[in-house]
């Protein structure tokens, strides 16, 4: 049977969201008071970001970054941690840095942020509107504009970190063609293979969030990575329980249903009881 759509939270959802969110709040509070700063494993992607920055500065070629089209949300904020790191280096070494835009509200946010980074780095005069050119909100006109920009500016390093759709390979190949060093990262599952084949290193899924935390050097972010791990431990425990539950249920009911799975497992109905008006259709 299919899971019914979720309209509002049940007690199970409340408990589950508490289990996911509260550990990270605790870790963040601890990290803020400097009581416990969890050790975050340095992922290779972080080194690659630094290497790409170094190489493009060495070559004297500009850096280009695209966040795809995530909209204002958690992913964008996480990616901005990485963007800030790159922008600080760009400001410090007076290297040109482009972040083409395809959403006006994201553009407002990103250009405000870059403005601030440059001001804090003591180089407010280096920030200009051309750094965040608007290439329209259409997926493929944005892609064509990005291709042209990367080729014309002879980018030395490209960072494709954010949320992408079919255009991911077009963006990645543009940098690949001119021999730029590329670091990519996305949470969009179906685009990961293309980024892997065409860029030097790919941050997979939540590595994007972790890299942002690592590069920002903020104890709060490190605490939140520890919180993520705790939340995942909760999920793993839930999965194991669910799988064992389903196995036992299948063995128990083997004469009626050959396979008891997903929503039919009564554990899931505890977490998420069926809506009342649905009941009569079953």
């Amino acid at each position: 049977m299919l899971t019914p759509p979720i309209i509002s939270a049940s007690w199970g959802v409340v408990i589950l969201s508490t289990l996911i969110v509260v550990p990270s709040l605790v870790f963040i509070a601890l990290a803020r008071r400097k009581k416990f700063i969890p050790p975050v494993r340095r992922i290779r992607g972080v080194d690659m970001v630094d290497e790409a920055i170094g190489r493009s500065i060495e070559m004297g070629r500009p850096m280009v970054m695209t966040v795809g089209s995530p909209g204002i949300g958690p992913l964008l904020l996480a990616v901005m941690g990485i963007m800030g790191h790159i922008a600080r280096a760009a400001a410090k070494f007076r290297q040109r840095f482009f972040v083409p835009q395809n959403d006006v509200t994201v553009m407002a946010l990103v250009s405000e942020y870059l403005n601030e980074v440059y001001r804090d780095a003591g180089r407010p005069e280096l920030f200009r509107m051309e750094m965040t050119p608007y290439l329209s909100d259409q997926q493929f006109s944005y892609a064509s504009g990005y291709m042209g920009l990367v080729h014309r500016e002879k980018a030395g390093a490209c960072f494709l970190i954010g949320s992408f759709a079919a255009e991911s390979l077009i963006l990645a190949e543009a940098g690949q063609q001119i021999g730029a060093m590329q670091v990519s990262g996305t949470v969009d599952y179906s685009q990961i293979p293309f980024l892997i084949t065409s860029t030097d290193y790919t941050l997979v899924g939540e590595e994007v969030y972790a890299a942002g935390a690592y590069l920002s050097d903020d104890p709060v972010q490190k605490g939140s990575v520890a919180g993520q791990d705790a939340a995942k431990a909760v999920l793993i425990a839930l999965f194991l329980t669910g799988v064992i539950w389903a196995t036992i249920a299948t063995i128990w009911h083997r004469d009626e249903t050959p396979q008891v799975k997903s929503y039919d497992v009564s554990l899931s109905q505890v977490v998420y009881p069926p809506p009342k008006d649905e009941g009569e259709n079953k």
């Binding site: 299919l2 019914p4 759509p5 063609q177 179906s190 259709n281």
Partner: protein, 309 residues
């Protein structure tokens, strides 16, 4: 040493083909079937055949119930999904099963007006060739098919139509009330349909249909999808929620083959050609990967040999 030199350059060349050469090769290989109008006979696909047989079963019912097809695709996925839509429409129209056409995407609006008449024309030609009496040739709008056009609001629209279609939709694209059409006489909600075919390249629309357009004992689903979403669709096949599946262009071509072999409908050239072209392109990729690896492997071995000597 001298006889070795040309072989080496060839190996190096193959292992490190210039990107422009690969682009050129792609264009040339894919142009071959298009320019020469080359067509291969499509292979049989199990899922397409299942759907075909299901429709044939429906055609044998004494009171043919209405079938629904939703064209949830736009210009960018049209190359893959238009053939499937066309093939299915041809089949139901030929079998005189009434069909309701609609779309949940703004982009699909234009296609709901173009594709069904195209299918109707093929069917009418086939009937003429068979010598069907003149008054039975035509595929009539309002009796054999109807276009509900673009329905706004995704799951809200699906929910509304599942409850009471005529009351929710009210009028067709010609802005006439639905009650006036013969096809709608026995239609109420989801239960009045025998089959719902969803053709889409977007994720998430089909699950909404599954959830809200309730699957009853007599109402079944079929899906036409782009080859990207084939993996996801397999889970629905696995659970028996689908009676059949169009797997991209290949699935549509297989269906066209069934139509032409079993019913004698003239197949759509474009579909066969697209399938052939796709096959050429895919074959080129497979070949390039194999050749590239062999060359790379041989180069590595030669390097190893040279370093030891």
């Amino acid at each position: 040493m001298t006889p070795d030199t040309p072989r080496r350059t060839v190996l190096d060349f193959i292992a490190n083909l210039d990107r422009r050469f690969v682009y050129f090769l792609t264009a040339v290989v894919m142009l071959i079937p298009i320019v020469s109008k080359l067509e291969f006979r499509p292979p049989m696909m199990l899922q397409a055949e299942k759907l075909f047989n299901y429709v044939e079963d429906l055609a044998r019912e004494p009171n043919k119930r209405v079938v629904m097809i939703s064209l949830d695709w736009g210009p960018q996925t049209a190359p893959e999904l238009r053939p499937a839509t066309l093939a299915f429409l041809k089949h139901v129209m030929y079998r005189r099963i009434p069909v309701v056409v609609l779309t949940l995407l703004n982009d699909g609006r234009g296609f709901t007006e173009v594709v069904p008449p195209e299918a109707a024309k093929v069917v009418e030609d086939a009937r003429r060739a068979e010598g069907v009496p003149a008054n039975e040739i035509e595929v009539l709008y309002g009796r054999d098919w109807i276009n509900l056009g673009y329905r706004f609001g995704f799951s809200d629209a699906i929910r509304g139509m599942a409850g009471n279609l005529i009351e929710y939709v009210r009028s067709d694209t010609k802005r006439k009330p639905l009650e006036e059409y013969e096809i709608m006489r026995n239609v109420k909600g989801a239960d009045s349909f025998s089959l719902m075919v969803e053709v889409t390249g977007s994720v998430g629309i089909f699950p909404a249909w599954l959830q809200w357009f309730k699957q009853t004992r007599t109402m079944r689903f079929a899906l036409g999808c782009t080859s990207i979403s084939v993996p996801e669709s397999y889970t629905y096949l696995d659970s028996g929620q689908l009676v059949g599946l169009f797997e991209g262009i290949t699935g549509a071509a297989a269906y066209e083959r069934l139509l032409s072999e079993r019913l004698g409908l003239s197949p759509s050239r474009d579909t066969f050609q697209a399938m052939t072209t796709q096959m050429f392109g895919q074959g080129l990729i497979v070949l390039l990967v194999i050749v590239g690896n062999v060359a790379y492997f041989m180069l590595q071995r030669r390097k190893a040999r040279e370093s030891t000597t």
